[in-house]
Subunit: 217 residues, 2 copies
Amino acid sequence: MSLVRVQNFSISLDGFGTGDGQSLDAPFGHAGERLHEWMFATRWGHELLGRPGGTGGIDDAFARLFSVGIGAEIMGSGKFGPPGWHSDPDWHGPWGPNPPFHTPVFVLTHHSRPSLEMDGGTTFHFLDAPPAEALEAARAAAGGLDVRIGGGPSMLRDFLAAGLVDHLHVVVVPILLGRGVRLWDGLEDFDRNYTIETMVSPTGVTHLTFTRTGADG
Amino acid sequence: MSLVRVQNFSISLDGFGTGDGQSLDAPFGHAGERLHEWMFATRWGHELLGRPGGTGGIDDAFARLFSVGIGAEIMGSGKFGPPGWHSDPDWHGPWGPNPPFHTPVFVLTHHSRPSLEMDGGTTFHFLDAPPAEALEAARAAAGGLDVRIGGGPSMLRDFLAAGLVDHLHVVVVPILLGRGVRLWDGLEDFDRNYTIETMVSPTGVTHLTFTRTGADG
């Protein structure tokens, strides 16, 4: 069965999925790289950057699930580029010619444009659609595999609130950002439909998995 | 050395230290007892209620530190009673004749009243003072022992922001309350002066300790 999954979504202890003041040079605003250091420290993170070494424990195990069994991603407009990217017709995302997705990726935006085929199997499609409709498109493109909800926090919250996510992996980093965009706002009792497991890594981050317990789980 | 400590302060995964709609019947509002079930399930919690049994693991170990080495508590007005308690001259707090503190307790309130001696060693003092001044009074009454900051979340946040807390024990309960009073608001970079340790209990709650790394830690 094709599941809807979230992998490696990192938040601060005070719940921010991104910091304040996002820009081209600071895609996570004042958070900098602090929410994702745990990921880049893993063997998987090192491989992404073409480096040897890296940690091989629980952080690496979770990080690698990013692409396992995934046939498509849906991402928010703010992940594809900094505010204003849609006025630049040559903007191809911040990942260079070979983005790390290697599947169709649906970018939710009110500013449509032609699909964009990149190296390595990533094709960006631009879609102005509510969560359920976007999911339908992504499922059709995923070839029976799972669909990953890529964030940022605002669009992820919409998918969670709409009850569309089967498996959610959140990583809590023990820092206090104080400002930015919160993941959990407006999700009262979201936990009631999920089995939650919590695991602490020796690196200090906490991994939480939410697995849907409903009939369709 | 006399430390300023916070023990067993429970918050939801979305950061609320109390729910919405606090009243005499619902001191934690719509959160009910959900933030503290882990505590009442311990051997220590059972002993408090005069019952046998209870869990004996990490939750019990932490719960018992509540009173170990403590010589005084400071609490916020909202912990001493529901909104409006100060207009009832017979209000003695919600704990009955023998409150579980057994030390001097300083209640921060703009409505002063005479000190109140209870059974079992608890004496309530009513104080209209900012955090540092309240701490001075509590320290003087603590006989060289530690001072516990008792909450609720608003007053605790004030003490954290003022840099007055040496040791903070927070328990994250995996529920999403959606509304209430947040602990972490306005504490950007609070973590930078503390060593943070994270431990998951088999019961599903996560214990975090913040130990001050500054010269006075």
